[in-house]
Symmetry: C3
Subunit: 341 residues, 3 copies
């Protein structure tokens, strides 16, 4: 429970209405009821504001006069909502200390927490307040910054570096070998040792079962504030700029460099050795096969259709070249006919 | 080894031939030999029935007279085959009891089995006959229904609920944080706490390394009898109706609602905030970008081609608009020419 | 540090220049400096050879006269580089022996290494020098060949077979149940027991979080020398021929057979029950929906475009059939007009 004036004291914003009013939860405009603090993040939901049964609401300056509810006026209601939600849902941290069923071969500060079944190899450097979940494996000489948390079953290979205040979800694998082989004439493969590292900045979140491979000679680098969803695959020597967000199931092939503040949609793919500048948005399901030199939104996906329509329309895809030839032939016939007139 | 009359006694169906005949395995029509029970699930394999060397066969009523082999006649031979296969291959369950190398902070019934390296946090509720595999992690206040089994290395975050008779394969992560962030003006991200749960019904099977995120405010919900293959990503607040089956590598983005009895093909993707009704079939590799309001089959994928053909045909895809303009111009020229005649 | 003559003595090739020269690392032409051994693997980088500051370089016979640096001449400089890199980066193997925090119910040779938290079930057969990482689970009757290594958290289900000299990365799941269910009339599913195994050859590398399902009746088979990247899903009864390489995020559906020496690009998908011959290359992001009977390169993906262009061009995709009809109508009008002339 927070009083509205307490929230404004902590998070800023302008309070209109009874500061002593207490709210216990955040909720959407639709679902909010007594004791809830709702938010209007998008003017297209303005109509819902009138019916809203929240006790109070967070609004942008242009909506300050559009409700009689007690309200907090702030430039970005959605960010404000996120910060209030953080206050209402503080992380539940496990007690500090090393569980007796953990196997730790490195120094761990007293403020850190190491759960049962976790293994930490020699030479690892663990920051203050770090939380290592059950069954995690931290390889030789790994560095983990202060206040970083690893959920259950995370594996970090030797020599990798993780910044401060990161959150790594269950099943993530950081620093496995990149996919690097030289091909013999008979088609067999000779492994190229992957001697680079993965170096991850501060404030990075990594979703469940995501994998980030170590570099071949140089490092794979994930910038500060990058947010990675679940089941993303990042190949060796990829570099991702600060604050870029990547949705689930994306694959990024080797040596590709992605700028800062990009947003990559779910199931998108980016082939190797490309360069994508800052502030690029890639739509879901799009395969990027060329470097992108200008900020903007890029797309390549197919419109879903009833199966019968798809069969009818997409049969022509195999014959687009022939179709274009027929069109050109017609143009020439008409041109000829015209000039003959 | 089962006698045919014993099978019919347990599973129903009409027996034609020697009920004392014993069968030891199930097999396909092609591969069956002495001692095998084969099945004809599809009339297109009818020709194989004649050559079949099985000791007996399961057939539908319309094929009852098409073989002289001892046979079981049943409405759905494939379902019958599945049930016989279950009889021949009963699950091998580990002994009940908590392994001394497990770390259990909750009550576990005597009928349950908890393997080495598993951790169960305080407040968890574990049903009768539950099997928790090696290295699994069960978070605070998780509820697991009777007869549910977890293979090795499954992680269930705090407060999530799993029904009865579920089977969860290795590496599955249930209840990791949804991918929810509010964007600051400078492009950095503020985490939105994910305070919902994952609630999974009864008789659900979840394939290896699949991930199901917890909801943001409300829950993520998986209905009874849903079958999920490997490496599926289900985002926060998704709801999947009963008996829907999802093939491998599918990604379903946040807040999308999928009906009952749907079938989603491998590597399909469904973007967020959509609504898909009951009994929809999505073809493999199809990206669904719009809600689907009518049952049926939906498709959007590209015909694979030899690379040279693809280069020739798909170059035109970038210019379809221009192509259409040229076609329209031709039509107008001809119309004009006709009216001039 | 290796002398050049020592390298040539071990790995072959022709030495031109001072054999006593010592090199400490391998590096690319661009990044090499004092003490580095660079390599020219592709004539398109020939210009870089002139500026190269490496101490020595590996070149093909046709480039033997194009540099004054001490050099090793060999038919395939990239393969040679890989072998030199292996010499410079020998694997760091953990000490042999079973960690006291492992739970081992099978015989393990003295040369093998079993880490903390690993579990090995009864009946498993572990080869010489095998390394089982922390938290791995080896099921009943699993066979692991000599010199194979498993990184952390690998799970191998009962009865599966892994050859010699394999490397399995963290989070891999081998032998989970294939996705096999018979559908009841009411839409519910009856599980078909998956009683086959996964059988993996020698010299196979498997990337992090990849999953390979066990067969339904027969086995899933991965040939010798196959290289699998991260997050690949291989369904039940798939068979992959020797030395085929599969990039990240690929999904291969049930019962598909892939030949030897194929290369499958990232995020490609292959539907079930297909047959793909030897020496086929599938481009990234391509969905293969038909069998491929001839070696060669196959592609089906879309050209990425700025979003506005995509909207303009791809709207026509839904109407390709109508477009073709319009073209045909024009052709007929012109033909008619011509014959009327």
């Amino acid at each position: 429970m927070f009083r509205l004036d307490e929230l404004v004291h902590r998070l800023g914003g302008e309070l209109i209405g009874d500061g002593a009013l207490q709210v216990a939860r955040v909720a959407t405009l639709d679902q909010a009821g007594e004791g809830d603090l709702a938010f209007l993040a998008n003017r297209k939901y303005l109509a819902r504001l009138a019916q809203c049964r929240a006790s109070a609401v967070i609004v942008a300056p242009d909506a300050r006069g559009l409700t009689a509810l007690p309200r907090i006026v702030t430039a970005d209601p959605y960010v404000y909502f996120a910060r209030v939600a953080q206050l209402f849902n503080p992380p539940v941290l496990p007690a500090a200390g090393v569980h007796p069923a953990a196997c730790v071969e490195a120094a761990v500060p007293a403020s850190a927490s190491v759960a049962a079944g976790a293994t930490i190899a020699a030479g690892a450097s663990i920051g203050e307040n770090v939380v290592i979940g059950p069954g995690c494996h931290i390889g030789r000489n790994v560095v983990i910054g202060d206040d970083t948390g690893l959920e259950a079953g995370v594996c970090i290979y030797h020599d990798c570096v993780l910044g401060a205040r990161c959150l790594v979800h269950a099943g993530v694998v950081i620093g496995a070998d990149g996919f690097g082989f030289a091909r013999e004439r008979d088609g067999s493969w000779v492994k190229i040792p992957q001697s680079g590292r993965v170096v991850i900045g501060d404030d990075v979140e990594i979703g469940a079962n995501t994998t980030i491979d170590r570099g071949a000679l140089d490092d794979t680098v994930i910038g500060d504030g990058v947010k990675l969803d679940n089941q993303i695959q990042i190949a060796h020597n990829v570099r991702i700029g600060a604050h870029t967000a990547v949705a689930g199931c994306v694959g990024i092939a080797g040596s590709t460099v992605i700028g800062a503040r990009c947003m990559i949609g779910g199931q998108a793919g980016i082939i190797g050795h490309l360069h994508i500048v800052d502030d690029v948005v890639i739509s879901a399901g799009t395969l990027v096969t060329k470097s992108i030199h200008r900020a903007g939104v890029y797309t390549a996906n197919l419109p879903v259709q009833p199966h019968a329509d798809w069969v009818r329309n997409f049969a022509h895809l195999r014959h687009l070249d022939a179709l274009t030839d027929r069109l050109r032939a017609l143009e020439q016939r008409l041109d000829k006919a015209s000039s003959a007139d």
